[in-house]
Every structure is written in structure tokens, then in C-alpha cells.
Amino acid sequence: MAASLSSVMPATGAALFFRRLFRRKLVLAAAIILLIAIVAALFAALITPFDPGAMRVARRLRAPDGVNWFGTDELGRDVFSRIIWGGRASLGIGAAVVIFSVSIGGLLGLLAGYFRRLDAVIMRIVDALMALPDILLAIFLVAVLGASAFNVILALAIVYTPRVIRVVRASTLVVRELPFVEAARALGVSLHRILFVHVLLNVASPILVQATFIFAYAVLAEAGLSFLGAGVPPDIPTWGTMIASGQQYADRAFWVVLFPGLAIVLVALSLQILGDGLRDMLDPKLRKAL
């Protein structure tokens, strides 16, 4: 009982938690890269030397130099500026997918884990959705809904919500049997408070870990969808649309696809590493091994 309890809750202060988390240099590096990416996306207008849409045909497909740090694309647009702005779209879509899937998946997972009758219904739908390959399901949904940034978010949220439901349900099944939940019931505490205070607070850690992974998957999936032409319309710069439109020039101007590719890899990898770090921290059985 004690082991199952501590696997869903760490009992340490925030400062100690971060000091332990960042003791691994790789996790620290990942967090710094993500911080830079997020700050750059938020303050894109202040950082970028050029308008991401400004075309200068005279300078098309220029190799990286002192003016265009990452070179220019087939329409003479500054790749560096487009990557910063594209990060804004890519990270924004990823964040929106996380918010959607975590809030809806969290709620459904809590309900499925706490109420046995809802469990059967919700989990069969989850099983059905999870049986389909992620990217195929997303392509299908975007094809039905139409290609727009919002529909990409919606499609990816539908794809990743079942993962959240799974994780939250499993943790809820553990927490609901713990004596403090029984104590709350014996006190006549409302069901609402039992679910959203007692259970939710104690399943927050696995949700947090899952959220970082979903963020990474969503960034990758958005790029994949855009590359396949089933994602964001090409006029909005995202890392995926940049690679998609630049691919035919890759043999002459590798920088057109290399830098957005690197951005995707760096961000997705950093999110994965941070997620791994959080998971290891929040699972005391792994923490001891470190």
C-alpha cells in the first residue's frame, strides 16, 4: 500500500524537487533548450531580424551568411525568422493539444477510474481509438474536418486524449482505494471534493509526465501532418510546413529543411528527456537507482 501510494505522489518541496531533477545535466540542458524555444516563440517579433513572410526573390535559396543566419528559402524569405515564427505556431499547436487532451482526458480518466459503470463505456471507446495508428487517425480527422490550425489541434487532441484517460484512470484506481479517500467518505465530504481535491491532487504527477510526452508527440505529429499536406495550410509557417515546401530544394539548399528539422528534433527530444526526468523523479523506485 505504501509503495503504491508513493508512486503517485512525491512528498518533497518544490525547491528540492527541481534541484534533484536538474542534477542530471541532460535534463537541465533539455529544460534550457525548451525555455529558449518558448521565450523565442513568445517574443518572436522582438527577436526576428526579418518579417517571416517578406519575399526577396533576388536573395532566394541563399546559403547561411551574416545577413540570413540560416539562409533563405525558395522565395527569398529568411529561414531563421521563419523558424522563430514557425516555433510559435508549432509550440502553440502542441500546447493547445496538451491543454485539450489533458483537461478532457483528465476528467474522463477520473470518472472512468472512480465509477465502475462509466469505466466500461469510456474504456471501450478508448481502446477503439488507441487501436488506430496515431497519424492515420489524425490524417483521417483532418481530411474530414478540413485543413486548418484549429482542426489540426482538434484532431491531435482526439488522438492523444485516450492516452491521458488511460494514465489517469490507472492512477485513480489506486488512489480511490486509499484510506484517505475512505476517511473523506466517512466524513461525508462531497463527491465533487473527493474527486477534484483528494484524487486529482494525487494523480497530478503522472498527468504532468504524460503532458510533456504528448507535447513532444504533438509537435512531431503536426510537422508530420503538415509535411504530408494534411495539416496547417502552407501559408502559415510552422516547422512542418517549412520542411514540406522546402523539400524539393533540399538537394540544392539543404538549410531550407535542415534548420526546421533540427528545431523539431531539439524540441521533441528535449520534451522527451524532460518527461523521462520527471517520471524518474516522481517514481521513487526509479529515483533510488539514480
Partner: protein, 326 residues
């Protein structure tokens, strides 16, 4: 004791209380046909091995799990079938103290939130008086009022158990169900917590159902004792009678098995042979017969009913010679 039986109404009474878990041919009858009564201000001890159904009884009488059959009467009113909303006044009158001091407090909440939740659930001590009340409750269980700003992991097992007791007392209950309240604690701390519970029950006039596998703890704390085996009551009666003159062979075995501090005590150990039978397929007739040194053919055929004189009753087909123990 007879006065109580005659004049006082039981605070809590169970009639034919049963609970089965599982379905089909895999049914565990965790509690079967249990008739118990707890009178105001008294301590009823429930003893038995693990699997005897004692914790299930504790949760049944608090309606934390639903009975399969039977009735639960609290202050003259049945609480067995009523809705959670109608149960709310009862929730204030009957509380629980748990075995595991680590898992029974939400690790994410501070002590003020843990105890305050009990007050909030019943609209007690609102506003400015809330903190004062929480401080008083903490002091009542021997903790400083300043403990309210701290989290459960900052306390030892014994201190956490005190917090759990304060939470139970916050709503001023009349009945406490204490499920193995000290078995998870160090021996040195057990006595402190038991003393605290004893003191509080006298001061507050609490009735208590004390669930324990430890006969010594039950003997020390209880006015009356019920001995359980495979979900059935084997023997019940005044604590002193049960310990001094047990009538049921299982009770005798339990007493003989409990270690005594007196090295000169000459006590004939009653050897219990075999394992506890699987509750999935309990023995026919008397459930204890497979391990009973006195078992006869009749034990396999007939379920013994509780019988005996006055308050001391036992479920055995035989009148074993009163055995002087110790």
C-alpha cells in the same frame, strides 16, 4: 453490564449483518449473520485473525461498503438502505480511525486542510473560529496547534495517527470505529496512542468499536469483546469473562497463543492445527471445525447458534468444561 442491557438503548446495533464479495461460484462470505450491539460510551472489541471479517464489519457499520443482507440500526433508526444524502447526519455521529497512518492522510494537504475538511463537510466552526477549533483539536490529541501548517510527511507514524484521531473527533462523534489503530506503529508508540484513545473516550463519552488481531490490546481497551472467525461470531461477552473463562475452543486457542509477560505462567497451549480454510469454500456446519480439537460429526452437519447465559454467549455445540486459565 446487565443494567446496560436492560435500560440503555444500543447506540449501534446490527441484525443478521452479512456481506459477500465476488459473484458466481467465487463468492467470499466475508461477514455472515453478525448480530452486534454497541452501547453509548462503551468499547466493543472485535478480535480475529486476518480474513475473519472484522475490518469488513467496521466498514459496513459506517456504510463505507454496502451490506449484502441484514440491518444496521443507529440510535434506533435503520441506516442500511438510505441514500448518502440522508446519511449525512449519521456521518457526523460515527467516525473512523484507520490502520495505516501513512495512507490515511492525503499527502497533498496540510493538517489544517485535513482537519478543516471535517468541519467544512458539516458546516461547523465557520470563519474565524475554524483555526481556533483546529488548534484545540490538535492540542486535544497532544500535538501543538502550530502543527496545522505542516504536511503529513513531516510527522512520525504516531503523530500522524494523532492527526487521524483529531480529524475523527472534529465532528464530535458519538461512535468511533478504530480499525487496528496501533498495529502499524512501533511498540513504544502503541501504548501512547492507546492511552490517548482511552483518555479521550472517557473525557468525551465516546463509544468505540475497536478492531484488532491483538487480544492484549482488545482486552486492555474493551468493555465487551466479540471473537470472529471466518466472518462469524464465535463468542461474545464482557471482556473479563471472555478472557478469564472462554467457552469457545477458538477463543481458548487465541488466548493460549497470546504471549504473556509472566514467565511462571503455566498455561496449557491449545495447538491449532492447519491453516485458515479458504473463505471461498468454508467448512460446512461449524466453520471452525477443521481446526478444532473437539470436533465431532455434529459439527459438520449443524451450524452452532450463539447460546449461553446472560451477556456471555458462544457458538459451539459442546459445553466444554470451564477452563481456568493462568
Amino acid at each position: 453490564m446487565d443494567d446496560k442491557e436492560n435500560f440503555a438503548r444500543p447506540l449501534l446495533e446490527t441484525r443478521g449483518l452479512s456481506r459477500a464479495f465476488g459473484a458466481g461460484n467465487r463468492v467470499v462470505r466475508a461477514v455472515q449473520d453478525v448480530d452486534l450491539a454497541v452501547y453509548p460510551g462503551e468499547v466493543l472489541g472485535l478480535v480475529g485473525e486476518s480474513g475473519s471479517g472484522k475490518s469488513t464489519i467496521g466498514r459496513l457499520v459506517l456504510r463505507l461498503i454496502e451490506p449484502s443482507a441484514g440491518d444496521i440500526v443507529f440510535e434506533g433508526e435503520s441506516i442500511a438502505g438510505i441514500s448518502e444524502r440522508k446519511l449525512k447526519p449519521f456521518r457526523r455521529k460515527a467516525q473512523m480511525v484507520f490502520q495505516d497512518p501513512f495512507a490515511s492522510l492525503n499527502p497533498r494537504l496540510d493538517v489544517e486542510a485535513i482537519i478543516g475538511e471535517a468541519l467544512d463537510a458539516h458546516g461547523l466552526y465557520r470563519g474565524a473560529r475554524r483555526r481556533a477549533r483546529i488548534g484545540d483539536l490538535l492540542e486535544m490529541v497532544g500535538l501543538p496547534a502550530s502543527a496545522m501548517g505542516r504536511y503529513p510527511h513531516e510527522f512520525s507514524g504516531g503523530q500522524r495517527q494523532r492527526i487521524g484521531i483529531a480529524r475523527a473527533l472534529a465532528v464530535e462523534p458519538k461512535l468511533i470505529v478504530a480499525d487496528e489503530p496501533v498495529s502499524a506503529l512501533d511498540v513504544s508508540v502503541q501504548a501512547q496512542v492507546l492511552n490517548l484513545m482511552q483518555e479521550l473516550r472517557h473525557r468525551l463519552g465516546l463509544a468505540m468499536i475497536l478492531i484488532s488481531h491483538d487480544l492484549d490490546v482488545v482486552e486492555l481497551m474493551s468493555d465487551r469483546i466479540a471473537v470472529l472467525y471466518l466472518g462469524r461470531i464465535m463468542e461474545q461477552g464482557p471482556a473479563a469473562d471472555i478472557v478469564a473463562a472462554p467457552r469457545h475452543p477458538y477463543t481458548r486457542a487465541l488466548i493460549a497463543a497470546s504471549p504473556k509477560a509472566d514467565p511462571d505462567a503455566t498455561r496449557v497451549p491449545v495447538a491449532l492445527t492447519g491453516e485458515l480454510p479458504s473463505p471461498l469454500s468454508p467448512p460446512s456446519g461449524c466453520v471452525f471445525r477443521t481446526r478444532c480439537p473437539h470436533a465431532q460429526a455434529v459439527c459438520a452437519d449443524q451450524v452452532p447458534v450463539l447460546r449461553g447465559e446472560g451477556a456471555h454467549r458462544f457458538a459451539c455445540h459442546f459445553d466444554l468444561a470451564p477452563q481456568s486459565l493462568g
